[in-house]
C-alpha cells in the first residue's frame, strides 16, 4: 500500500498532476460554496452592520445567543420544531413500513407496480406545487370541506386553526413521502431468503405468522437504522412544506427554526439569524454523529451514512 517516499510533496503533485487537475474544479466550488460560508458563521458572534461589512462589524461575544433565548419567538420555534418532528417520527415513520408490508403481500404485479408508481410520484414534485394543490383542496370551498359539510359539520379551517394545521402538515407529509420510504423497505423485503418462508410454511406457519416470524425480524435492522438516522434529523421539521403551507395565524404552532431564521434575515437581523442557524447546525451535527455511531454499532458496522 504505502510506497516508499521518493522526493518532496511537489514531486508527488507533479506525478499526479492530471488527477489533481481533474479534481480541481470540484474543490474550488466546494471550498467557495461550502467552506467559505462556514467561515461566515462568525457573524453569529458579531453585530452585523451593512456599512461595515462582515469583517469589520464589531464582535459582541455571545450577545446574539442571549438575545435569541431571551426572545419569545426562538424558544417557541425550537419547541415547535421538536413537536412537529416527533409527531412526524411517530406517525410518518410507520406509514412506509406498513405500505411496504402490504405491497409485499400483493401477488398481482401490475397492481403492485401501479400503486407504487402513484404513491412515490409526489416525492418528485416541489412543495410549492404540492402546497398550492393542498391550499385548493383544503380551502373553505375545497372538496375536503364539501365532504365535511356533507357529513353535517361546519367547515374546518385546516390551515388557519393551530391544531388542524399540525394534523394537516403530518398527514400531507405522509402523503408526500410514504411511497418513497416504502421503496427502501421493499428492497429489503426483496432481499429476504425465500428458503426462510418455505421452511416456515413447512412448519405450518400461515402468512400472518410468516410475517411476524420471518419478515419483521429480517426487516428489523433496516427499521432500526432508519429510525436512528431520522432521530438525528429532529431539528429539520420540513421547511419546504411548512413554508409553503403556513401563515401568520398558525405561527404559534407552526413557526419552526428555519422559518424563524428566514424571517430574521428578511428583517436584516443577520447576527441573530446566523446565531439561530449556527445553533441548529451544531446540534444537528452532534445528533448525526452520535446517531451514525449508534447505527453502526447496532448493525455491526454494516449501516450508517458513512
Amino acid at each position: 500500500m504505502t510506497a516508499p517516499r521518493s522526493g518532496s510533496i511537489l514531486t508527488t503533485y507533479r506525478r499526479h498532476k492530471e488527477l489533481l487537475l481533474l479534481l480541481l474544479p470540484s474543490m474550488v466550488l466546494l471550498v467557495l460554496f461550502n467552506y467559505v460560508p462556514m467561515v461566515g458563521l462568525v457573524l453569529a458572534f458579531k453585530d452585523y452592520m451593512a456599512s461595515l461589512g462582515m469583517v469589520r462589524s464589531p464582535w459582541v461575544g455571545l450577545e446574539n445567543f442571549q438575545r435569541l433565548f431571551a426572545s419569545e419567538d426562538f424558544p417557541r420555534a425550537l419547541r415547535n420544531t421538536a413537536t412537529i418532528s416527533l409527531l412526524r417520527l411517530t406517525f410518518g415513520f410507520v406509514a412506509p413500513i406498513v405500505l411496504a408490508l402490504m405491497l409485499n403481500e400483493v401477488r398481482v404485479s401490475w397492481f403492485k407496480r401501479g400503486v407504487q408508481t402513484l404513491t412515490y410520484l409526489p416525492y418528485f414534485l416541489s412543495w410549492v406545487i404540492l402546497g398550492g394543490m393542498f391550499l385548493m383542496l383544503l380551502g373553505s370551498e375545497g372538496p375536503v370541506n364539501w365532504l365535511v359539510q356533507a357529513a353535517g359539520h361546519s367547515p374546518v379551517s385546516f390551515l388557519s386553526n393551530g391544531a388542524w394545521f399540525i394534523v394537516t402538515i403530518i398527514l400531507t407529509g405522509i402523503w408526500q413521502s410514504a411511497g418513497y420510504g416504502a421503496v427502501i423497505y421493499l428492497a429489503a423485503l426483496a432481499g429476504i431468503d425465500p428458503n426462510l418462508y418455505e421452511a416456515a410454511a413447512i412448519d405450518g406457519a400461515g402468512r400472518w405468522k410468516q410475517t411476524r416470524h420471518v419478515t419483521l425480524p429480517c426487516l428489523a435492522p433496516t427499521i432500526v437504522v432508519l429510525l436512528i438516522l431520522s432521530l438525528s434529523n429532529i431539528l429539520n421539521a420540513g421547511f419546504d412544506q411548512i413554508y409553503n403551507m403556513f401563515n401568520p395565524m398558525v405561527y404559534d404552532v407552526g413557526d419552526i427554526i428555519d422559518t424563524y431564521v428566514l424571517r430574521r434575515m428578511v428583517y436584516q437581523d443577520f447576527g441573530l439569524a446566523t446565531a439561530a442557524g449556527l445553533f441548529k447546525s451544531v446540534i444537528g451535527l452532534l445528533l448525526v454523529v452520535s446517531a451514525n455511531g449508534a447505527a453502526r454499532r447496532l448493525s455491526g458496522g454494516e449501516h450508517g451514512i458513512w
Binding site: L29, G132, G206
Partner: protein
Amino acid sequence: MKRTRGEKIFNVVNLAFLGGVALVALYPFVYVMLASMTCPTKDGREWTFKAYELVLGNPEIMTALGNTALRTVLATALTLLVSCLAGYALARKTLPHRGMVLFLILFTMIFNGGIVPNYLLIRNLGLIDSIWSLVLPLLVSAFNLIIIKNFFQQIPESLTEAARVEGASETAILFRIFLPLSMPVLATVALWTAVMHWNQWFDAMLYIYNDDKQVLQTLLQRIVIQNSTAMQDRVRTGLDISRLTPESVKAATVMVTVLPIAMLYPFVQRYFVKGILLGGVKE
C-alpha cells in the same frame, strides 16, 4: 400453495386498502387538473381551456419557464461533467491526500453555513440576479461525487491496462473507457439533478429580484401560495376573464409546472427508484 379462508379475506382487504391508497395518492392531481380545465356556470361546470391559454400566453410565465429550463439543463450538464472528473480522481487510490479530500467532501453532508452566510457570499460575489447563483452553489454535491466515485471504483483495472500501456492519459481513459460503462449511474445522477433544479424555488426567492430572471417555481409560489392578486390579475389581463375564476388560473399554473415531470415520470421511473436506493450510499 393452498390458501385458507382467512388468507383469502386478507387478500381482498389488502387489495381494497391499497386501491384506496392509490386513489388518495391520485385524487389531488385529478382535482387540480379538473379545476384547471373547467369553469363554473349557472348550471354546473363546463369544459374550457381558457386558463391554459392565459397561462401559456403570459409572457412572465413563459420567461420563467424558459429560465427554469435553462437553469436545469445548464446545471445538469455541468454537474455531470464536474462530478465525473472529480469522481474519477477520487476513485484512484493513488490520488494525493485522498483521505482528507474525501473527508472534506463528506463533511459538507452533515454541516453547512446556513442561509445567511450563503446569501452574503452570493451578494459579495455579485451573483444576485444571475443564473449562476442558482447553478454554481449546487454544482458539487457530496452525494453525487460519492455515488460516481463508488461506481468508478468497481470498474476492473484489467479494462484500463491496455490503454495505459499505450500511454493514454487519465482524461482519455475517463472519457473513452469509464463513461461509456457508467451510463446507468450517470442517467440516475442526471435525472435527480434535473428534477432537483426544476423544483428549486428557495434559492431564486433569495437571489433573484429581476422578474426577467425569475424561475417558474418562485413565480408559481407568488401566484398560488402567496396568492398575490396583483400577479393573478397580470396573468388574467387582456383576455375575456368574465367566466374564469382565479382558482382555475392557479390550477392551470400548477399543472403547467407539474406536467413536464409527470410526463417524463413513467419513462424514467426506474432511474428514480435506483436513486432512492442509492440513498443508502456509504463510503
